[in-house]
Amino acid sequence: MLSELAATALLALSLRSIISLNAYSGYNKPPMFGDYEAQRHWQEVTVNLDVKEWYTNGTHNDLQYWGLDYPPLTAYHSYLVGLAAKSHNASFVELHSSRGVESREHKSFMRLTVLVADVLIYLPAIWILSAAIDRTFQSNIKQVLLLLLALYPGQVLIDNGHFQYNNISLGLAAIAIAAILCDKNFLAAFMFTLALNYKQMELYHALPFFSYLLGTTLSHKSFKSFATQLTAIATIVLTVFAILWLPWLHSIDAASQVLHRLFPLGRGVFEDKVANVWCSINVIFKLKKYFLNHQMALICLGTTLITVLPTNIILFWRRSKPMFLLTLFNTSAAFFLFSFQVHEKTILLVALPAICLFQWWPSEMLWFLEVSVFSMIPLLRRDHLLVPSAAATVLFHIVFKSDYFKDNKEQILENKLLNMTIIISEILMIFIVIGFIAIKPSARYPDIWPLIISVVSCAHIFLFLVWGYVKQIMQCNRKLNDKVE
C-alpha cells in the first residue's frame, strides 16, 4: 500500500534526522578533528581551488590535513555542497581560516546536507531496490524490505551520526542492483560506475557486476548481439569515467596522482582495530614485524583474489538473480576480511547485499546485520554514539523480531539449532558491549575491548563467508539436479 510505504520512507527520514541531533566524529578534538571536518575541508578545498589542484599537495592544499582521498564524484559533490555553504555563510568554507569550524549553525547545515542526500538518493534508491526485489522474486516483501533498509542502524549511525555520505554510494549501488534484477543492464552499468566514482570501496561490489554482465553478454547466441552489448556496456562505463576524470586526464602524472590518493599503500594494512582477518592475526603474529608494506599489500591481494574468484566464477557459469545477490554478499565479505586498508565502516558494503538476501534467510541476515553494528561499536563509542546505537539497534531488533511481522515471514523454518546459535551469539555480543562500557582495561592492554570486539566480529563474518559459499554451492547443485531431472 502506497501510504504504508510512504510512512516507512518518512520513518526513515525521521530516524535519520533524530540521529542527526547527536555529536559527530571529531567533535571538539583539535587539531585533526574527524570525518566531519574532513568532509567540510573538502568543501573548502574544492570551492576555493582550481580543479587541477584538488588532489595535489600545494601551499593551499595540505594533503596531510584531510587531503581528498575519494574519487572525483565525491569531489564534485563536495564542490556543490561547498557552493551552498558559501552562499549561506562564507565563513564555513573560507580557505585556511575555516579549519575546525564548530558552530551549531554549521552542524545544522552539514546534517542537512546528509539528509538532502538521503531524500534525493538513498530513500528513492532503497524504495526502488525493495520494489525490484519484490517484483523479480514475486515475494510480496516490499514493505518489510523497505522497513529493513530504512531502519538498519549501521548506515544511519555512520552517515547521520558519525558523519559520512555512504548513503550516496550505497544508494547508487542499490539502484544498480535493482537494475540488474530488472534486466536493465545498461542502467546497472551506468549507476554502478557512478557509485564506484563516489567511493572506491564500491570495488567490493565490482566483481559480481562484472561477471554477471559479462555472463549475460556472452549468453547471446549471435556474435553480433554479443558484440553490440559488450561495446555498449564498455562505452557507458568508459564514457562515465572519462567525463568524471576529465580534469585529470591531461597528463599521466595528474591521473596517477589521483589514483595514488585513492589507494594509499603507505597507510598500512589497517589503521584502527577492524574486524578483518589481518587485524585478528596481528594479535598473535605481528604482521608488521615480518612483512614490508608492499609485501603485505601483495599478500592481501593474493588472499582476496583466492577467496573472491571462486564465487564469481560460479556466478559466471551458473548465472541467476539470487545467485548474483549471494555472490555480492560473498565478494564484499571476502574483500572486507582480506583486503588492504579496510575501515570499520566498510562493513556497510556487506550489509547492503545482506539485506537483499533477507527474504531467503531472514534470521541469518538479521543476525549478520546486528553483528555488523556490533563490529562498529568502538568507532561509535569514540563518537559518543553508544546510547543512540543501542536504542536504534534495539528498535531494529524488536521491529523485526516482533510478532507483527511474523505473518509476512512464512519462510522462516523453525530451526532450533540456528536460533540457539543466534541467541548465544547475541548474548555474547551484549556482554562484550557491557564489559566495554563498564570494565576499564588495564594499562598494559588499553585496547583490549576494541580488540575483542574486532576478533569476535571477524570470526562471525568469516563464518558468514563460509556459510555464503556453502549456500552458493548448494544452489549450484540444485540447479544441476533440476537440469538432470
Partner: protein
C-alpha cells in the same frame, strides 16, 4: 501475535531514548526549578517562593511527585536541586529528567491497555493493533513530552485508567483516579463535567431513594479524599495556592495563539485596526508581541475570563444533556468518550489562556475512538492533521526543524494507512477537507522559502506563527462543529424523529442498528 503490545512499548521506548539529545524548552527549567523548590524548601514555602520566575503552579500532588523525584535526583546530581542554580542543565540533569518522563510513561502504557480493553476492542484484531500504534507512538506526546519536555504521558495514563474504570463500571475507583488526576494537573477540570454527569446518571440515579443518598455520599467521600490529602497540608495558605493555580493575570491568548476561536478573534481585531487605520494606543501590549501579557483588543470588544467560561459551559451543555438523557449503559459507552472529547474541545476552543498543548486532551481520547467507529475515525484524522501541526511551533530550534516535520508526516501517514487497514471501503474525505490538508504545505513553504526569498522574515517574524494558528484554528473549529453535530445526531432521542427529512432518519436508524 499477542506479544505485539509490549513490542510496541519497546519500540516507543527506544524512540524516546533516541530523542534524549533533542533540545528541550523552558519547561525543562520549570520542572528543574520545581525539583529544587520541593527539595530545598519547607512545604509552606513551596507555593510562595519566587526565586525563579517559573513558580510552582500545578496542584500539590504534582509537587509531591517532584519531591519524590528529587529524592532520587540527589544521587544523580545534587546541583540540580539548588534553588539559585537557574537554567542548570548538566548532562546528568538532562538524562535524569528526560528518563523520568520515559519511565513514568509506564502509567500511560497501562492506561492504553486497559482503555482499549474497556472499549471492547479485542486483542489481535487490526483495531487493537492500530489503537496501540496510534496511542503508544503518539506524535503529540513525543513532541510535548520527549522533545519539549513535560509529564503529560503519565497524566494521560491516569485519565485513561479512570475512563476505563468508568466503562468497566468500577465507578468509585474511576472517581478516585480522576480526583487524583485533578490534583496532579487541574486542567483536567475541563473534563470533569462529563465524568460528573456520567457518574450521576449511571452510579447514583439508577438507585432508589435511600441508596441514592448513600451512593452520593460514597462518591463524594471517594472523590474528595485526594483533595484533602493534597491540599490538606496547605490549608493555611489556600488562597495563595489557588492564586498560583489560576493565574488570571495572564492574557486571553498565550504568546503563540492556540488554534481556537480567539486566534480568529485576535486576527479580526488586527485586520480591523489595519482597515480602520486606527493607531494602537499602547504598542507594548499588542497581541503578537510574543510575550505573555494581557491582551487589549483595539476595535473589537475586550474578552473577559467570565465570557470565556460562560461560552465554554454553554457549549458543553448539549453533550452533557445528551449524556444525561442516554438510557442504557451500552449506548453511553462511546458517548462518554465522545463527551470527554467534546468537553475538552469546548474548553480548547473558548477557554481562557489556552495552551496549544491542550489539544492533546481532545486528540488522545479521539485516537481511541478512531479505531472503534468509522465516522469518528474520519473526524479524528481531520483533527489530527490540524492539531499535531499546531504543536510544531513548540519545536522551533534550528536542528529540530527536520525531525519535527518528518515525525509529523510519518505519524499522519501511519494514521492514514492504519485507518485504511481497518475500514473498507476507504475513508472518504470531502473536497474541502482535502484542499484543507493540501493547504498545510503553504505554511512551511512560506516560513522556510518564500519569506526568506522576499526578505520579509525579519520584518514579520511572527507571521509563520500567526499563519499556523490561524490555519489550524480553521481545522479545529471545523472539526468541533462537524463532530458536535455528528455526535448529537447519532441517537438523539427527541428531534431526529420529529424531523421530516428522510435522509437523517434513515442514517440515524441505520446507525442505531449498527450500535446494537
Amino acid at each position: 501475535m499477542s506479544g505485539y503490545f509490549w513490542q510496541f512499548v519497546g519500540i516507543s521506548t527506544a524512540l524516546k531514548v533516541l530523542l534524549l539529545p533533542a533540545h528541550f524548552s523552558t519547561d525543562f527549567e520549570v520542572h528543574r526549578n520545581w525539583l529544587a523548590i520541593t527539595h530545598s524548601l519547607p512545604m509552606n514555602r513551596w507555593y510562595v517562593d519566587t526565586v525563579s520566575e517559573w513558580t510552582l503552579d500545578y496542584p500539590p500532588f504534582f509537587a509531591y511527585f517532584e519531591w519524590l523525584l528529587s529524592q532520587m535526583a540527589k544521587y544523580v546530581d545534587p546541583k540540580m536541586l539548588v534553588l539559585s542554580n537557574l537554567k542548570y542543565a548538566s548532562p546528568e540533569t538532562v538524562y535524569f529528567q528526560k528518563i523520568s518522563v520515559i519511565v513514568t510513561d509506564l502509567v500511560y502504557v497501562l492506561g492504553v491497555r486497559s482503555c482499549l480493553a474497556a472499549l471492547g476492542v479485542a486483542k489481535n484484531t487490526q483495531q487493537h493493533i492500530t489503537g496501540c500504534l496510534l496511542m503508544l507512538l503518539n506524535v503529540g506526546l513525543i513532541f510535548v513530552d520527549h522533545i519539549h519536555f513535560q509529564y503529560n504521558g503519565f497524566l494521560f495514563g491516569l485519565l485513561l485508567l479512570s475512563l476505563s474504570a468508568l466503562l468497566k463500571q468500577r465507578y468509585l475507583w474511576s472517581a478516585f483516579i480522576f480526583a487524583v488526576l485533578l490534583n496532579f494537573k487541574h486542567i483536567f477540570l475541563y473534563m470533569a463535567p462529563a465524568f460528573a454527569v456520567y457518574l450521576l446518571k449511571f452510579y447514583c440515579l439508577n438507585k432508589n431513594g435511600n441508596q441514592f443518598a448513600l451512593s452520593v455520599g460514597k462518591l463524594l467521600t471517594v472523590g474528595l479524599t485526594p483533595f484533602v490529602l493534597s491540599f490538606g497540608p496547605f490549608w493555611r495558605q489556600l488562597p495563595q495556592v489557588i492564586s498560583r493555580l489560576f493565574p488570571f493575570k495572564r492574557g486571553l491568548t498565550h504568546a503563540y495563539w492556540a488554534p481556537n476561536i480567539w486566534a480568529l478573534y485576535n486576527t479580526a481585531d488586527k485586520l480591523a485596526v489595519l482597515a480602520l487605520k486606527r493607531t494602537p494606543p499602547n504598542t507594548m501590549s499588542s497581541t503578537s508581541s510574543g510575550l505573555v501579557q494581557e491582551v487589549k483588543h483595539i476595535v473589537l470588544p475586550n474578552i473577559t475570563p467570565e465570557t470565556t467560561f460562560l461560552l465554554t459551559l454553554v457549549f458543553m451543555l448539549p453533550i452533557l444533556m445528551k449524556l444525561f438523557l442516554t438510557k442504557t449503559r451500552d449506548q453511553a459507552r462511546l458517548l462518554m468518550m465522545r463527551a470527554v472529547v467534546l468537553c475538552a474541545c469546548s474548553s480548547f476552543v473558548f477557554g481562557w489562556h489556552v495552551h496549544e498543548k491542550a489539544i492533546l486532551m481532545c486528540l488522545i481520547p479521539l485516537s481511541l475512538l478512531a479505531v472503534v467507529d468509522r465516522r469518528d475515525a474520519k473526524y479524528a484524522f481531520i483533527l489530527s492533521v490540524a492539531g499535531y501541526f499546531s504543536l510544531l511551533p513548540l519545536l522551533f530550534e534550528l536542528d529540530l526543524l527536520v525531525p519535527r516535520y518528518a515525525l509529523y508526516l510519518t505519524y499522519v501517514a501511519m494514521l492514514y494507512s492504519q485507518l485504511d487497514r481497518i475500514y473498507k471501503p476507504k475513508l472518504k474525505f470531502q473536497l474541502v477537507e482535502f484542499i484543507y490538508f493540501v493547504g498545510f504545505l503553504t505554511i512551511p513553504l512560506y516560513e522556510h522559502v518564500f519569506s526568506r526569498l522576499f526578505g520579509v522574515h525579519e520584518r514579520l517574524p511572527f507571521m509563520p506563527l500567526l499563519l499556523t494558528s490561524l490555519y489550524c484554528s480553521l481545522g479545529v473549529l471545523y472539526f468541533f462543529v462537524r463532530y458536535y453535530i455528528y455526535v448529537l445526531d447519532i441517537t438523539w432521542p427527541i428531534w431526529p424523529a420529529k424531523r421530516r427529512t428522510p435522509q437523517v432518519k434513515f442514517s440515524a436508524a441505520k446507525r442505531k442498528r449498527k450500535t446494537k
